[in-house]
C-alpha cells in the first residue's frame, strides 16, 4: 500500500512540477471568468424581463452544462495527455527502469500511477465544477438540483477516460495514447449527439449509434447523467421530451444504477487489461 501511495504522490508531484497544474488553473480561471460574465448578461436580460423565470432556468441549465462540458474536456485532455508521458514516456525514456528494478510489483506501480491521475483529474473537475456552480449561483441565482451527484459523475467520466489512456499508454507511444484517448472521447460524444437526434426523429437505428457508443466507452453516458443532475428539471418541459433529446447540452433521463454498475465494471476490466499488458511488457 505504501508503494501505491508513494507512486501516486510522485505522479501528483510530476503534474504540479511540470506546470500541468498551473496550466489547468489558468484555463479554469479564464473559463470561470468568461462564464461569470456570460451569466451576468443572462441575469441582466432576465432582469429587464426579456426572459421568463422558466427561460432563465433553461438558459442557466444549458449554459452550466456547456461550461461543465468545457471543464470535462479540459480534464479529459489534461489527464489523457498526462497518462501518456507518465507511463509510456517513462518506459520509453528509461526512467521506469531503475524504479521497476526496485522490490515492487508492476501492478502496484500501475495502481499508484492510476491513483495519482484519478486524484488529479477527478479533483480538478470537482473543484472547478463546484466553483462554476458558485459562479452561477452568484450571477443568476440558480443552484443545480443534485450538485453532488453531478460532480461525482463528472469525476467518474474523467476516471473512465484516464483508465482508457492508461491502458493505451501501456501499449502504444505516449503521443499516440493521448491522441487516441481524446479522439475516442470526442467520437463517443458525437455519437451520443447523433443518437439523440435519431431518438428525436424516431429513427431507432440512428438512436442505436449513441447507445452502442455509450456502452463501449461510458464517458458519454456518465456525462449525460451529470448534465441531468445539473439542469433544472422543469427546463426540459419547455423543449418537450423529444426536442430535448436532440439538444447536446440537455439530458432527458437520469443515470440508471445498472449503467453506473457497468461503468464501474468497465473501469475495473480496462484497468485489469492495462495491468496485464504492463506486467508482460519488456522494458
Amino acid at each position: 500500500m505504501s508503494t501505491v501511495l508513494t507512486v501516486a504522490q510522485l505522479t501528483l508531484r510530476e503534474a504540479s512540477r511540470r506546470r500541468v497544474l498551473l496550466a489547468l488553473l489558468t484555463l479554469t480561471v479564464l473559463l470561470l471568468a468568461l462564464s461569470g460574465w456570460g451569466f451576468s448578461r443572462v441575469a441582466a436580460e432576465s432582469g429587464g424581463s426579456a426572459l421568463t423565470s422558466g427561460e432563465t432556468r433553461l438558459t442557466a441549465s444549458i449554459l452550466l452544462n456547456l461550461v461543465m462540458f468545457g471543464f470535462s474536456l479540459i480534464a479529459a485532455l489534461g489527464t489523457a495527455c498526462l497518462a501518456g508521458p507518465t507511463l509510456a514516456g517513462e518506459t520509453e525514456s528509461g526512467i521506469a527502469l531503475s524504479v521497476l528494478a526496485r522490490p515492487i510489483r508492476r501492478s502496484t506501480f500501475l495502481l499508484g500511477k492510476w491513483l495519482g491521475l484519478v486524484v488529479f483529474g477527478a479533483g480538478f473537475v470537482v473543484l472547478a465544477g463546484l466553483a462554476q456552480c458558485l459562479v452561477v449561483r452568484a450571477t443568476v441565482d440558480y443552484w443545480p438540483p443534485q450538485p453532488g451527484r453531478a460532480l461525482a459523475l463528472l469525476a467518474a467520466q474523467t476516471v473512465v477516460l484516464l483508465t482508457l489512456a492508461v491502458l493505451l499508454s501501456t501499449a502504444v507511444s505516449p503521443m499516440a495514447s493521448g491522441v487516441v484517448a481524446v479522439g475516442l472521447f470526442g467520437t463517443t460524444w458525437v455519437a451520443g449527439v447523433v443518437g439523440g437526434i435519431g431518438a428525436s426523429l424516431g429513427n431507432s437505428s440512428v438512436e442505436r449509434v449513441g447507445e452502442v457508443s455509450r456502452f463501449l466507452l461510458p464517458t458519454d453516458g456518465l456525462w449525460r447523467g451529470a448534465m441531468n443532475a445539473f439542469q433544472d428539471p422543469t427546463a426540459l418541459s419547455l423543449f418537450g421530451d423529444e426536442g430535448g433529446e436532440a439538444f447536446p447540452f440537455l439530458s432527458t433521463a437520469p443515470l440508471t444504477t445498472s449503467y453506473l454498475a457497468w461503468a464501474v465494471l468497465w473501469v475495473a476490466m480496462v484497468w485489469a487489461l492495462a495491468a496485464a499488458s504492463f506486467v508482460r511488457k519488456d522494458l
Partner: protein, 325 residues
C-alpha cells in the same frame, strides 16, 4: 524440541551463502531474432564479475532478465538466494541501467528518497548525503535534474544503485558518459564494494576497466556464453620469452621442467603453469645461469584480455562461417 530447532538453525547458518546471482538456461526471443540463448552464469557473494561482448551480444538483455525488467522465454534466475520472480528478491539489489534517466522534475536528494522508500529500507538522511558525496554530487543535491549533464545523471544513477545498502550491484555501462576522472571514481567505488563484500555484475565495453576490477569474466557472443572464467583461466598460462645462447643439455632439461618450450632460433618461449609461484621466474633464470646458459633477455609475455576477447569472437565467427559453408 528446542534442541532440534537450534540444530536446524545451526545447519542453516552453516550453509554456504547462496550466490548473489544465479541463472540457468536463460532464453529470449524478440520476434524471429534470438537475443539470448541458453545463458547460465553465477556471481558469488562479494565477487566482481565482468560481462563482455560485442554490441548486440545480449548483455543488457541478460541483465534486464536478471532484474525482472524483461521476461525470459525460458530459464531460472535466483537473486541473493530468492527466485527473481518475487520482487522481494530485489530489496538488496542496486541497478544502474545503460539508459540512465531520472525524473527531471526532481532533485538528486528527492530521487534518492524515492528509491529508499521504494526499497522499503530505512536509510538515514546522512547515509543518503554520503552516497551523493561519494559520487561527487553533494554540491548539486537540491538542484532539479532537468539541467544536469549526462555525466552527472550517470553519477546520480550510481548513487541510486548504491543508496539502499545493496548486497548486489548491477552496473550496465557505468562509465559511458563519464570523463577519465569519473572512470577512476567508478573503479574505486567497485573496488570498495568488493572490499565490503558486495557482489558486482559489471557490463562494460572498456576491457581495461574490466581487467582491473573483475575477479571473473563472462564473454557473451550472439546471445550465448562464448567463454567464462577467472582472468587467469581465460588468459591461460603466462608465457616467458628468453633469449639464450650456449644452452647445455642440462639447461634445456631445466627449461622443459618449467613448462612447454618452443624454440625459434635463440629465443625460447616457456609456457608457465597458471598457478606458478612468484619466485619461479628468478629461480629459473638463476638455475639456467648456474647450468652454464648465457641469458641475454627475459621478457614476460601475457596476452591481454582484449586479445583473448577478440580471439574468442573471431573463432566464433570463423566457426559460423565454416558451418555455413
Amino acid at each position: 524440541m528446542s534442541a532440534t530447532r537450534e540444530q536446524a538453525a545451526r545447519l542453516v547458518t552453516e550453509l554456504p551463502p547462496t550466490p548473489a546471482v544465479w541463472c540457468s538456461g536463460l532464453h529470449k526471443q524478440y520476434g524471429r531474432r534470438t537475443a539470448v540463448e541458453d545463458v547460465s552464469l553465477e556471481v558469488g557473494r562479494g565477487e566482481v564479475v565482468g560481462l563482455l561482448g560485442p554490441n548486440g551480444a545480449g548483455k543488457t538483455s541478460v541483465i534486464k532478465m536478471l532484474l525482472g525488467l524483461v521476461r525470459p522465454d525460458a530459464g531460472e534466475v535466483l537473486l541473493l538466494g530468492q527466485p527473481a520472480r518475487e520482487p522481494a528478491a530485489r530489496v538488496r539489489v542496486g541497478y544502474l541501467p545503460e539508459l540512465f534517466r531520472y525524473q527531471p522534475w526532481l532533485s538528486p536528494t528527492e530521487v534518492l528518497a524515492l528509491h529508499v522508500r521504494l526499497s522499503g529500507l530505512d536509510v538515514s538522511e546522512q547515509e543518503r548525503r554520503d552516497v551523493l558525496a561519494l559520487v561527487g554530487l553533494a554540491e548539486r543535491a537540491r538542484d532539479r535534474l532537468g539541467g544536469f549533464s549526462k555525466g552527472m545523471q550517470q553519477r546520480l544513477g550510481l548513487a541510486v544503485a548504491l543508496v539502499a545498502r545493496p548486497e548486489l550491484v548491477v552496473l550496465d555501462e557505468p562509465t559511458s558518459a563519464l570523463d577519465p576522472l569519473g572512470r577512476v571514481d567508478v573503479r574505486d567505488i567497485v573496488l570498495s564494494l568488493r572490499e565490503r563484500g558486495v557482489a558486482v555484475l559489471l557490463n562494460s565495453h572498456l576491457i581495461g576497466e574490466v581487467e582491473r576490477v573483475c575477479d571473473r569474466v563472462v564473454i557473451l557472443d550472439r546471445g550465448r556464453v562464448a567463454a567464462s572464467g577467472t582472468l587467469g583461466e581465460l588468459l591461460g598460462q603466462r608465457e616467458l620469452r628468453l633469449h639464450l645462447t650456449d644452452v647445455p643439455a642440462g639447461a634445456r632439461e631445466r627449461l622443459a621442467a618449467s613448462g612447454t618450450v618452443e624454440q625459434e632460433g635463440e629465443w625460447f618461449t616457456v609456457a608457465l603453469p597458471a598457478d606458478e609461484v612468484a619466485s619461479s621466474v628468478p629461480d629459473l633464470v638463476a638455475d639456467l645461469v648456474s647450468l652454464g646458459a648465457r641469458v641475454h633477455a627475459v621478457e614476460p609475455g601475457r596476452i591481454s584480455l582484449e586479445e583473448r576477447l577478440l580471439g574468442i569472437l573471431r573463432a566464433g565467427a570463423d566457426e559460423r562461417a565454416g558451418g555455413a559453408a
